[in-house]
Protein backbone atom coordinates (compact mmCIF):
# COMPACT_ATOMS: atom_id res chain seq x y z
CA UNK A 1 0.00 0.00 0.00
CA UNK A 2 1.43 3.36 -1.03
CA UNK A 3 1.80 5.78 1.82
CA UNK A 4 0.41 9.08 0.63
CA UNK A 5 2.02 12.08 2.28
CA UNK A 6 -0.58 14.62 3.37
CA UNK A 7 1.79 16.61 5.55
CA UNK A 8 1.60 20.36 5.11
CA UNK A 9 3.55 23.43 6.16
CA UNK A 10 1.06 24.52 8.82
CA UNK A 11 2.75 27.87 9.45
CA UNK A 12 2.36 28.78 5.78
CA UNK A 13 -1.27 27.59 5.78
CA UNK A 14 -1.94 29.70 8.87
CA UNK A 15 -0.46 32.82 7.24
CA UNK A 16 -2.42 32.40 4.00
CA UNK A 17 -5.71 31.54 5.71
CA UNK A 18 -5.64 34.40 8.23
CA UNK A 19 -4.73 36.74 5.36
CA UNK A 20 -7.66 35.33 3.38
CA UNK A 21 -10.15 35.88 6.21
CA UNK A 22 -8.93 39.38 6.95
CA UNK A 23 -8.83 40.50 3.32
CA UNK A 24 -12.09 38.93 2.21
CA UNK A 25 -14.05 40.30 5.18
CA UNK A 26 -12.59 43.80 5.33
CA UNK A 27 -12.90 44.37 1.57
CA UNK A 28 -16.70 44.12 2.00
CA UNK A 29 -16.50 46.99 4.48
CA UNK A 30 -16.99 44.71 7.48
CA UNK A 31 -14.62 43.89 10.33
CA UNK A 32 -16.34 40.98 12.03
CA UNK A 33 -17.11 37.30 11.71
CA UNK A 34 -19.53 34.78 13.18
CA UNK A 35 -18.72 31.09 13.50
CA UNK A 36 -21.04 28.22 14.37
CA UNK A 37 -19.06 26.38 17.01
CA UNK A 38 -19.89 22.71 17.50
CA UNK A 39 -17.08 21.62 19.80
CA UNK A 40 -15.47 19.71 16.93
CA UNK A 41 -12.12 20.31 15.29
CA UNK A 42 -13.35 21.93 12.07
CA UNK A 43 -15.26 24.79 13.65
CA UNK A 44 -12.52 25.18 16.27
CA UNK A 45 -9.94 25.73 13.50
CA UNK A 46 -12.20 28.27 11.75
CA UNK A 47 -12.79 30.06 15.05
CA UNK A 48 -9.08 30.24 15.89
CA UNK A 49 -8.19 31.47 12.41
CA UNK A 50 -10.95 34.12 12.49
CA UNK A 51 -9.86 35.33 15.93
CA UNK A 52 -6.25 35.58 14.77
CA UNK A 53 -7.22 37.33 11.54
CA UNK A 54 -9.68 39.86 12.93
CA UNK A 55 -8.99 40.02 16.66
CA UNK A 56 -11.05 38.01 19.16
CA UNK A 57 -13.28 41.01 19.90
CA UNK A 58 -14.45 40.91 16.27
CA UNK A 59 -15.56 37.27 16.35
CA UNK A 60 -18.79 35.79 17.69
CA UNK A 61 -18.91 32.03 18.29
CA UNK A 62 -22.42 30.64 18.41
CA UNK A 63 -23.09 27.28 20.07
CA UNK A 64 -26.40 25.72 19.07
CA UNK A 65 -26.94 22.50 21.00
CA UNK A 66 -29.89 20.18 20.50
CA UNK A 67 -31.29 18.07 23.30
CA UNK A 68 -29.45 14.96 22.02
CA UNK A 69 -26.12 16.76 21.59
CA UNK A 70 -23.39 15.34 23.75
CA UNK A 71 -22.46 17.39 26.80
CA UNK A 72 -18.79 17.03 25.81
CA UNK A 73 -19.52 19.07 22.70
CA UNK A 74 -20.63 22.11 24.65
CA UNK A 75 -17.71 21.78 27.07
CA UNK A 76 -15.23 21.53 24.20
CA UNK A 77 -16.80 24.54 22.51
CA UNK A 78 -16.47 26.46 25.78
CA UNK A 79 -12.78 25.52 25.92
CA UNK A 80 -12.30 27.03 22.45
CA UNK A 81 -14.19 30.17 23.45
CA UNK A 82 -12.10 30.53 26.62
CA UNK A 83 -8.82 29.95 24.78
CA UNK A 84 -9.53 32.40 21.94
CA UNK A 85 -11.40 35.04 23.97
CA UNK A 86 -14.08 35.48 21.29
CA UNK A 87 -17.62 36.64 22.05
CA UNK A 88 -20.03 33.76 22.50
CA UNK A 89 -23.66 32.94 22.55
CA UNK A 90 -25.42 29.66 23.28
CA UNK A 91 -28.78 29.14 21.64
CA UNK A 92 -30.61 25.90 22.35
CA UNK A 93 -32.38 24.79 19.18
CA UNK A 94 -34.53 22.03 20.73
CA UNK A 95 -37.67 24.18 21.16
CA UNK A 96 -37.34 25.42 17.58
CA UNK A 97 -37.13 22.03 15.89
CA UNK A 98 -39.26 19.82 18.13
CA UNK A 99 -42.59 21.10 16.74
CA UNK A 100 -41.51 20.00 13.26
CA UNK A 101 -40.36 16.60 14.53
CA UNK A 102 -43.76 16.19 16.27
CA UNK A 103 -45.63 17.16 13.12
CA UNK A 104 -43.76 14.43 11.18
CA UNK A 105 -43.34 11.68 13.72
CA UNK A 106 -41.98 9.27 11.09
CA UNK A 107 -38.99 11.51 10.34
CA UNK A 108 -35.81 9.45 9.98
CA UNK A 109 -32.39 10.41 11.26
CA UNK A 110 -31.28 11.89 7.93
CA UNK A 111 -34.27 14.22 7.76
CA UNK A 112 -33.87 15.15 11.41
CA UNK A 113 -30.15 15.81 10.91
CA UNK A 114 -30.92 18.08 7.98
CA UNK A 115 -33.49 20.00 10.03
CA UNK A 116 -30.94 20.53 12.82
CA UNK A 117 -28.29 21.72 10.37
CA UNK A 118 -30.70 24.09 8.64
CA UNK A 119 -32.04 25.45 11.92
CA UNK A 120 -28.47 26.27 12.90
CA UNK A 121 -28.02 27.99 9.52
CA UNK A 122 -31.09 30.16 10.22
CA UNK A 123 -29.61 31.23 13.55
CA UNK A 124 -26.03 31.80 12.37
CA UNK A 125 -27.25 33.99 9.50
CA UNK A 126 -29.50 35.94 11.86
CA UNK A 127 -26.54 36.44 14.20
CA UNK A 128 -24.49 37.48 11.18
CA UNK A 129 -26.89 40.39 10.72
CA UNK A 130 -27.16 41.12 14.44
CA UNK A 131 -23.41 41.07 15.11
CA UNK A 132 -22.49 42.66 11.77
CA UNK A 133 -20.12 39.90 10.72
CA UNK A 134 -19.77 37.47 7.86
CA UNK A 135 -20.36 33.75 8.42
CA UNK A 136 -17.04 31.91 8.34
CA UNK A 137 -17.52 28.34 7.15
CA UNK A 138 -16.46 25.13 8.80
CA UNK A 139 -16.55 22.51 6.00
CA UNK A 140 -13.31 20.70 5.18
CA UNK A 141 -12.24 19.32 1.81
CA UNK A 142 -13.01 15.73 2.73
CA UNK A 143 -16.64 16.39 3.55
CA UNK A 144 -17.10 18.76 0.63
CA UNK A 145 -15.85 16.09 -1.80
CA UNK A 146 -17.87 13.33 -0.15
CA UNK A 147 -20.98 15.51 0.03
CA UNK A 148 -21.12 14.78 3.74
CA UNK A 149 -23.03 17.90 4.67
CA UNK A 150 -26.51 19.40 4.54
CA UNK A 151 -27.23 21.61 1.55
CA UNK A 152 -28.18 25.09 2.82
CA UNK A 153 -27.32 23.82 6.29
CA UNK A 154 -23.86 23.42 7.75
CA UNK A 155 -22.29 24.09 4.34
CA UNK A 156 -23.79 27.59 4.17
CA UNK A 157 -21.29 30.38 4.73
CA UNK A 158 -19.84 33.57 3.24
CA UNK A 159 -16.21 32.48 3.16
CA UNK A 160 -14.59 29.17 3.97
CA UNK A 161 -10.94 29.18 5.05
CA UNK A 162 -10.68 25.42 5.56
CA UNK A 163 -12.42 24.01 2.49
CA UNK A 164 -9.17 23.07 0.73
CA UNK A 165 -7.74 21.10 3.66
CA UNK A 166 -8.43 17.42 4.17
CA UNK A 167 -9.45 16.33 7.65
CA UNK A 168 -5.98 14.81 8.11
CA UNK A 169 -4.41 18.18 7.29
CA UNK A 170 -6.81 20.07 9.54
CA UNK A 171 -5.54 18.04 12.48
CA UNK A 172 -2.02 19.24 11.71
CA UNK A 173 -3.20 22.84 11.49
CA UNK A 174 -5.14 22.43 14.75
CA UNK A 175 -1.92 21.41 16.50
CA UNK A 176 -0.13 24.43 15.04
CA UNK A 177 -2.90 26.72 16.32
CA UNK A 178 -2.76 25.24 19.84
CA UNK A 179 -6.33 24.00 19.88
CA UNK A 180 -7.15 22.05 23.09
CA UNK A 181 -6.06 18.41 22.64
CA UNK A 182 -9.45 16.96 23.58
CA UNK A 183 -10.96 18.80 20.59
CA UNK A 184 -8.29 17.52 18.20
CA UNK A 185 -8.27 13.91 19.31
CA UNK A 186 -11.95 13.05 19.82
CA UNK A 187 -13.81 11.02 17.22
CA UNK A 188 -15.34 13.30 14.59
CA UNK A 189 -19.11 13.44 14.85
CA UNK A 190 -21.96 15.46 13.34
CA UNK A 191 -23.47 15.01 16.82
CA UNK A 192 -26.96 14.50 15.44
CA UNK A 193 -27.83 11.55 17.67
CA UNK A 194 -26.19 9.80 20.61
CA UNK A 195 -23.13 7.75 19.67
CA UNK A 196 -23.02 8.97 16.05
CA UNK A 197 -19.56 9.18 14.51
CA UNK A 198 -18.65 10.36 11.01
CA UNK A 199 -16.48 7.35 10.36
CA UNK A 200 -19.17 4.95 11.57
CA UNK A 201 -21.72 6.54 9.26
CA UNK A 202 -19.41 6.85 6.25
CA UNK A 203 -18.03 3.32 6.66
CA UNK A 204 -14.35 4.24 6.43
CA UNK A 205 -11.81 6.35 8.30
CA UNK A 206 -10.71 9.85 7.38
CA UNK A 207 -7.11 8.64 7.29
CA UNK A 208 -8.03 6.15 4.54
CA UNK A 209 -10.35 8.28 2.49
CA UNK A 210 -8.12 11.37 2.63
CA UNK A 211 -5.29 9.41 1.03
CA UNK A 212 -7.58 8.09 -1.67
CA UNK A 213 -9.15 11.50 -2.36
CA UNK A 214 -5.70 13.07 -2.54
CA UNK A 215 -4.70 10.63 -5.28
CA UNK A 216 -7.99 10.90 -7.17
CA UNK A 217 -8.51 14.65 -6.94
CA UNK A 218 -5.17 16.34 -6.32
CA UNK A 219 -2.90 13.91 -8.16
CA UNK A 220 -5.45 13.03 -10.89
CA UNK A 221 -5.03 9.26 -10.49
CA UNK A 222 -7.48 7.09 -12.39
CA UNK A 223 -9.57 4.80 -10.14
CA UNK A 224 -7.74 1.73 -11.47
CA UNK A 225 -4.41 3.35 -10.62
CA UNK A 226 -5.62 3.78 -7.02
CA UNK A 227 -6.45 0.07 -6.94
CA UNK A 228 -3.03 -0.72 -8.38
CA UNK A 229 -1.30 1.12 -5.53
CA UNK A 230 -3.25 -0.86 -2.95
CA UNK A 231 -6.73 0.57 -2.30
CA UNK A 232 -9.63 -1.91 -2.19
CA UNK A 233 -11.56 -1.76 -5.45
CA UNK A 234 -14.96 -1.62 -3.72
CA UNK A 235 -13.77 1.28 -1.58
CA UNK A 236 -12.39 3.16 -4.59
CA UNK A 237 -15.60 2.67 -6.58
CA UNK A 238 -17.81 3.78 -3.72
CA UNK A 239 -15.79 6.95 -3.13
CA UNK A 240 -15.61 7.82 -6.84
CA UNK A 241 -19.38 7.42 -7.07
CA UNK A 242 -19.95 9.48 -3.93
CA UNK A 243 -17.86 12.34 -5.30
CA UNK A 244 -19.87 12.28 -8.54
CA UNK A 245 -23.27 11.90 -6.90
CA UNK A 246 -22.84 14.89 -4.59
CA UNK A 247 -21.59 17.38 -7.18
CA UNK A 248 -24.96 19.14 -6.79
CA UNK A 249 -23.99 20.17 -3.26
CA UNK A 250 -20.90 21.94 -4.56
CA UNK A 251 -22.51 24.26 -7.12
CA UNK A 252 -25.20 26.91 -7.24
CA UNK A 253 -28.68 25.85 -8.41
CA UNK A 254 -28.99 25.29 -12.14
CA UNK A 255 -30.46 28.16 -14.12
CA UNK A 256 -32.21 27.33 -17.38
CA UNK A 257 -30.61 29.43 -20.08
CA UNK A 258 -32.92 31.44 -22.35
CA UNK A 259 -31.28 34.81 -23.00
CA UNK A 260 -27.95 35.73 -24.52
CA UNK A 261 -26.50 36.47 -21.12
CA UNK A 262 -27.26 34.30 -18.15
CA UNK A 263 -26.03 34.34 -14.59
CA UNK A 264 -23.62 31.47 -14.10
CA UNK A 265 -22.84 30.85 -17.78
CA UNK A 266 -21.82 34.07 -19.50
CA UNK A 267 -22.25 36.68 -16.80
CA UNK A 268 -18.93 36.11 -15.12
CA UNK A 269 -17.59 38.20 -12.28
CA UNK A 270 -15.76 37.33 -9.10
CA UNK A 271 -17.47 38.03 -5.84
CA UNK A 272 -14.67 40.51 -5.19
CA UNK A 273 -15.77 42.57 -8.20
CA UNK A 274 -14.99 46.24 -7.53
CA UNK A 275 -13.30 45.69 -4.17
Amino acid sequence: MTNVDLQINTGLARKILTGFIHTEITRTGMQRAVVALSGGIDSAVSCYLAAEALGAHNVLAVCMPYRASSSDSLEDAQAVIAATGVHSLTIEITPMVEPLFERFADMDNVRRGNVLARQRMVIIYDQSAAFGGLVVGTSNKTEILLGYSTLFGDSACAINPIGDLYKTQLRQLALELGIPPQVIHKLPSADLWAGQTDEGELGFTYAEVDQLLYLLVDQRYKPEECVAVGFQEVFVRSVVERVRRYQFKRILPLIAKLSNRTVGYDFLYLRDWGT
Partner: protein, 287 residues
Protein backbone atom coordinates in the same frame (compact mmCIF):
# COMPACT_ATOMS: atom_id res chain seq x y z
CA UNK B 1 26.68 52.01 -14.07
CA UNK B 2 24.30 51.55 -11.16
CA UNK B 3 20.59 50.97 -11.65
CA UNK B 4 18.39 51.41 -8.59
CA UNK B 5 15.37 49.26 -9.26
CA UNK B 6 12.17 49.17 -7.20
CA UNK B 7 9.61 46.35 -7.25
CA UNK B 8 6.09 47.27 -6.16
CA UNK B 9 4.27 44.16 -4.98
CA UNK B 10 0.79 45.52 -4.44
CA UNK B 11 -2.74 44.41 -3.80
CA UNK B 12 -5.18 45.82 -6.36
CA UNK B 13 -8.85 46.74 -6.38
CA UNK B 14 -10.52 44.41 -8.87
CA UNK B 15 -11.78 46.39 -11.83
CA UNK B 16 -11.29 49.84 -10.26
CA UNK B 17 -8.60 51.47 -12.42
CA UNK B 18 -8.73 54.89 -10.79
CA UNK B 19 -8.17 53.44 -7.30
CA UNK B 20 -5.23 51.42 -8.61
CA UNK B 21 -3.82 54.41 -10.49
CA UNK B 22 -3.88 56.40 -7.26
CA UNK B 23 -1.86 53.65 -5.57
CA UNK B 24 0.62 53.63 -8.47
CA UNK B 25 1.19 57.37 -8.15
CA UNK B 26 1.74 57.09 -4.38
CA UNK B 27 4.32 54.35 -4.93
CA UNK B 28 6.00 56.39 -7.66
CA UNK B 29 6.59 59.15 -5.13
CA UNK B 30 7.81 56.69 -2.51
CA UNK B 31 10.21 54.96 -4.92
CA UNK B 32 11.48 58.30 -6.15
CA UNK B 33 12.09 59.47 -2.59
CA UNK B 34 14.13 56.33 -2.03
CA UNK B 35 16.29 57.05 -5.06
CA UNK B 36 14.87 54.49 -7.51
CA UNK B 37 15.59 54.94 -11.23
CA UNK B 38 13.07 52.34 -12.37
CA UNK B 39 9.86 51.10 -10.71
CA UNK B 40 8.12 47.98 -11.94
CA UNK B 41 4.57 46.95 -11.13
CA UNK B 42 3.06 43.45 -11.40
CA UNK B 43 0.88 41.99 -14.17
CA UNK B 44 -2.41 43.85 -14.57
CA UNK B 45 -1.41 46.21 -11.78
CA UNK B 46 -3.92 48.85 -12.91
CA UNK B 47 -6.91 46.50 -13.09
CA UNK B 48 -6.59 43.41 -10.91
CA UNK B 49 -6.23 39.90 -12.27
CA UNK B 50 -9.40 37.73 -12.49
CA UNK B 51 -11.29 40.25 -14.57
CA UNK B 52 -13.54 37.92 -16.56
CA UNK B 53 -16.43 40.03 -17.92
CA UNK B 54 -14.85 43.19 -16.52
CA UNK B 55 -12.22 43.12 -19.27
CA UNK B 56 -13.97 45.44 -21.77
CA UNK B 57 -14.71 47.91 -18.95
CA UNK B 58 -11.09 48.44 -17.86
CA UNK B 59 -9.32 48.88 -21.21
CA UNK B 60 -6.87 51.70 -21.93
CA UNK B 61 -4.51 52.75 -24.68
CA UNK B 62 -0.98 53.77 -23.76
CA UNK B 63 -1.26 57.26 -25.23
CA UNK B 64 -0.69 60.69 -23.70
CA UNK B 65 -4.36 61.59 -24.16
CA UNK B 66 -5.52 58.54 -22.17
CA UNK B 67 -6.72 59.64 -18.70
CA UNK B 68 -4.79 56.85 -16.96
CA UNK B 69 -1.59 57.06 -19.00
CA UNK B 70 -1.46 60.85 -18.92
CA UNK B 71 -0.50 61.07 -15.21
CA UNK B 72 1.72 57.98 -15.50
CA UNK B 73 3.62 59.47 -18.43
CA UNK B 74 3.94 62.68 -16.48
CA UNK B 75 5.34 60.70 -13.52
CA UNK B 76 7.78 58.92 -15.83
CA UNK B 77 9.68 62.16 -16.43
CA UNK B 78 11.45 61.53 -13.13
CA UNK B 79 11.49 57.73 -12.89
CA UNK B 80 11.09 54.96 -15.45
CA UNK B 81 7.95 52.86 -14.98
CA UNK B 82 6.66 49.47 -16.05
CA UNK B 83 2.90 49.18 -15.49
CA UNK B 84 0.40 46.39 -16.13
CA UNK B 85 -2.92 47.08 -17.86
CA UNK B 86 -5.50 45.82 -20.34
CA UNK B 87 -4.82 47.18 -23.81
CA UNK B 88 -7.48 47.53 -26.49
CA UNK B 89 -6.09 47.66 -30.00
CA UNK B 90 -7.58 49.59 -32.91
CA UNK B 91 -9.61 46.52 -33.94
CA UNK B 92 -11.03 46.13 -30.41
CA UNK B 93 -9.06 43.13 -29.28
CA UNK B 94 -8.05 43.04 -25.62
CA UNK B 95 -4.56 42.13 -24.41
CA UNK B 96 -2.86 41.64 -21.08
CA UNK B 97 -0.12 44.21 -21.54
CA UNK B 98 2.77 45.96 -19.85
CA UNK B 99 3.97 49.43 -20.86
CA UNK B 100 7.47 50.76 -20.25
CA UNK B 101 7.35 54.53 -19.73
CA UNK B 102 10.43 56.74 -19.66
CA UNK B 103 10.90 60.51 -19.72
CA UNK B 104 7.32 61.15 -20.70
CA UNK B 105 7.21 58.64 -23.55
CA UNK B 106 6.06 55.06 -24.10
CA UNK B 107 9.22 53.13 -25.03
CA UNK B 108 7.62 49.72 -25.40
CA UNK B 109 4.39 47.79 -24.94
CA UNK B 110 4.52 44.04 -24.47
CA UNK B 111 1.37 42.03 -25.07
CA UNK B 112 1.29 38.72 -23.18
CA UNK B 113 1.86 35.94 -25.69
CA UNK B 114 1.03 32.85 -23.64
CA UNK B 115 -2.41 33.00 -22.06
CA UNK B 116 -2.81 30.14 -19.59
CA UNK B 117 -6.18 28.49 -20.14
CA UNK B 118 -6.06 25.40 -18.00
CA UNK B 119 -6.55 24.48 -14.36
CA UNK B 120 -7.59 27.60 -12.48
CA UNK B 121 -6.70 29.86 -15.45
CA UNK B 122 -9.10 31.11 -18.11
CA UNK B 123 -7.19 33.90 -19.84
CA UNK B 124 -7.68 32.61 -23.39
CA UNK B 125 -11.42 33.01 -22.97
CA UNK B 126 -11.20 36.73 -22.26
CA UNK B 127 -8.04 37.98 -23.97
CA UNK B 128 -6.25 37.96 -27.31
CA UNK B 129 -2.69 36.70 -27.22
CA UNK B 130 0.22 38.89 -28.26
CA UNK B 131 2.15 37.88 -31.37
CA UNK B 132 5.53 39.57 -31.01
CA UNK B 133 8.61 39.54 -28.82
CA UNK B 134 11.07 42.38 -28.86
CA UNK B 135 13.76 43.81 -26.64
CA UNK B 136 14.05 47.61 -26.49
CA UNK B 137 16.55 50.26 -25.46
CA UNK B 138 16.20 52.19 -22.22
CA UNK B 139 18.45 54.63 -20.37
CA UNK B 140 19.73 51.55 -18.49
CA UNK B 141 20.54 49.36 -21.46
CA UNK B 142 18.48 46.95 -23.51
CA UNK B 143 15.54 45.41 -21.70
CA UNK B 144 13.11 42.54 -22.27
CA UNK B 145 9.64 42.41 -20.70
CA UNK B 146 7.58 39.25 -20.21
CA UNK B 147 4.34 38.61 -18.35
CA UNK B 148 3.88 35.55 -16.14
CA UNK B 149 3.11 32.52 -18.36
CA UNK B 150 5.38 34.05 -21.02
CA UNK B 151 8.42 33.12 -18.94
CA UNK B 152 7.13 29.62 -18.12
CA UNK B 153 8.15 28.98 -21.75
CA UNK B 154 11.91 29.00 -22.25
CA UNK B 155 11.65 30.25 -25.84
CA UNK B 156 10.61 33.82 -25.06
CA UNK B 157 13.42 34.70 -22.64
CA UNK B 158 15.78 33.06 -25.14
CA UNK B 159 14.52 35.26 -27.98
CA UNK B 160 14.83 38.38 -25.85
CA UNK B 161 18.39 37.39 -24.98
CA UNK B 162 19.25 37.06 -28.66
CA UNK B 163 17.53 40.40 -29.29
CA UNK B 164 19.94 42.06 -26.91
CA UNK B 165 18.20 42.11 -23.54
CA UNK B 166 20.62 42.23 -20.61
CA UNK B 167 17.93 43.09 -18.10
CA UNK B 168 14.78 40.94 -17.98
CA UNK B 169 11.73 42.50 -16.36
CA UNK B 170 9.18 39.84 -15.47
CA UNK B 171 5.78 40.68 -14.06
CA UNK B 172 3.11 38.38 -12.73
CA UNK B 173 -0.08 37.93 -10.77
CA UNK B 174 0.76 34.41 -9.74
CA UNK B 175 -1.89 32.53 -7.73
CA UNK B 176 -0.30 30.55 -4.92
CA UNK B 177 -0.97 26.80 -5.07
CA UNK B 178 0.55 23.51 -4.06
CA UNK B 179 0.77 23.40 -0.26
CA UNK B 180 3.04 20.67 1.05
CA UNK B 181 5.76 20.65 3.69
CA UNK B 182 7.99 23.01 1.68
CA UNK B 183 8.92 26.49 2.86
CA UNK B 184 7.07 27.95 -0.13
CA UNK B 185 4.03 26.97 -2.16
CA UNK B 186 4.94 24.83 -5.18
CA UNK B 187 4.07 27.65 -7.60
CA UNK B 188 6.37 30.07 -5.75
CA UNK B 189 9.22 27.59 -5.64
CA UNK B 190 8.90 26.86 -9.36
CA UNK B 191 9.01 30.51 -10.39
CA UNK B 192 12.00 31.08 -8.13
CA UNK B 193 13.83 28.17 -9.77
CA UNK B 194 13.27 29.37 -13.30
CA UNK B 195 14.17 33.00 -12.54
CA UNK B 196 17.45 31.85 -11.07
CA UNK B 197 17.97 29.62 -14.10
CA UNK B 198 17.33 32.40 -16.63
CA UNK B 199 19.75 34.74 -14.83
CA UNK B 200 22.38 31.98 -14.85
CA UNK B 201 21.83 30.67 -18.40
CA UNK B 202 21.63 34.11 -19.96
CA UNK B 203 24.22 35.73 -17.65
CA UNK B 204 21.74 38.58 -17.24
CA UNK B 205 19.76 40.42 -14.58
CA UNK B 206 16.28 39.06 -13.90
CA UNK B 207 13.89 41.25 -11.92
CA UNK B 208 10.45 39.86 -11.09
CA UNK B 209 7.51 41.82 -9.65
CA UNK B 210 4.67 39.64 -8.38
CA UNK B 211 1.49 40.91 -6.77
CA UNK B 212 0.02 40.06 -3.38
CA UNK B 213 -3.45 39.97 -1.86
CA UNK B 214 -6.50 37.85 -2.61
CA UNK B 215 -9.17 37.66 -5.29
CA UNK B 216 -12.02 35.48 -4.05
CA UNK B 217 -10.19 32.38 -2.81
CA UNK B 218 -6.96 32.95 -4.77
CA UNK B 219 -3.88 34.17 -2.92
CA UNK B 220 -1.00 35.95 -4.65
CA UNK B 221 2.35 35.31 -3.04
CA UNK B 222 4.58 38.32 -3.80
CA UNK B 223 8.25 37.64 -3.00
CA UNK B 224 9.38 39.88 -5.85
CA UNK B 225 13.04 39.27 -6.54
CA UNK B 226 16.16 40.18 -8.46
CA UNK B 227 18.82 37.69 -9.60
CA UNK B 228 22.19 38.84 -10.89
CA UNK B 229 24.13 37.53 -13.94
CA UNK B 230 25.83 34.92 -11.75
CA UNK B 231 22.43 33.54 -10.75
CA UNK B 232 22.72 34.86 -7.23
CA UNK B 233 19.77 36.37 -5.41
CA UNK B 234 20.23 40.09 -4.78
CA UNK B 235 16.95 40.78 -3.02
CA UNK B 236 13.61 39.15 -2.29
CA UNK B 237 10.53 40.92 -0.96
CA UNK B 238 8.29 39.38 1.68
CA UNK B 239 5.84 36.59 0.89
CA UNK B 240 2.13 37.52 0.86
CA UNK B 241 2.58 41.11 2.05
CA UNK B 242 2.57 44.42 0.25
CA UNK B 243 6.07 45.88 -0.09
CA UNK B 244 8.22 48.22 -2.10
CA UNK B 245 11.48 46.34 -2.51
CA UNK B 246 14.60 48.15 -3.72
CA UNK B 247 17.82 46.77 -5.12
CA UNK B 248 21.01 48.30 -6.44
CA UNK B 249 22.07 46.67 -9.71
CA UNK B 250 25.70 47.11 -10.70
CA UNK B 251 25.35 46.80 -14.47
CA UNK B 252 29.14 46.38 -14.80
CA UNK B 253 28.57 42.90 -13.38
CA UNK B 254 27.47 41.90 -16.91
CA UNK B 255 31.00 42.61 -18.10
CA UNK B 256 32.63 40.65 -15.28
CA UNK B 257 30.33 37.62 -15.51
CA UNK B 258 30.54 37.41 -19.31
CA UNK B 259 34.34 37.74 -19.17
CA UNK B 260 34.36 34.62 -17.03
CA UNK B 261 31.51 32.82 -18.75
CA UNK B 262 31.04 33.77 -22.44
CA UNK B 263 27.80 31.86 -23.03
CA UNK B 264 26.34 34.67 -25.10
CA UNK B 265 29.49 34.92 -27.27
CA UNK B 266 29.43 31.17 -27.93
CA UNK B 267 25.71 30.84 -28.59
CA UNK B 268 25.26 29.26 -32.06
CA UNK B 269 22.20 31.19 -33.28
CA UNK B 270 22.56 30.12 -36.89
CA UNK B 271 22.61 26.52 -35.78
CA UNK B 272 19.48 27.15 -33.72
CA UNK B 273 17.71 28.73 -36.70
CA UNK B 274 18.81 25.95 -39.07
CA UNK B 275 17.77 23.14 -36.77
CA UNK B 276 14.51 24.81 -35.80
CA UNK B 277 13.62 25.21 -39.46
CA UNK B 278 14.52 21.58 -40.12
CA UNK B 279 12.41 20.39 -37.17
CA UNK B 280 9.43 22.50 -38.20
CA UNK B 281 9.72 21.41 -41.84
CA UNK B 282 10.11 17.72 -41.08
CA UNK B 283 7.06 17.11 -38.94
CA UNK B 284 3.37 17.20 -39.77
CA UNK B 285 1.72 20.47 -38.81
CA UNK B 286 0.29 20.75 -35.35
CA UNK B 287 2.74 18.40 -33.67
Amino acid sequence: MILNIALAQIHTVLGNVSANLEKHLILVKEAQAKGADLLIFPELSLTGYVLQDLVPAVVHRPKSEDPVFKPLLEASRNIDLLVGFVEEDTRNRFYIAAAYLSRGAVLHVHRKVYLPTYGLFDEGRFFAGGDAIQAFDTPFGRVGVLICEDFWHASLPYLLWLDGADLFLFTSASPGRGLNTGEQLESARWVDHINRAYASLFTSYVAHANRVGFEDGLNFWGASSVYDPDGDLIIRGPYHEEALTLAELDLNQLHRTRSRLPLLRDERTNLVARELNRILASRPSGQ
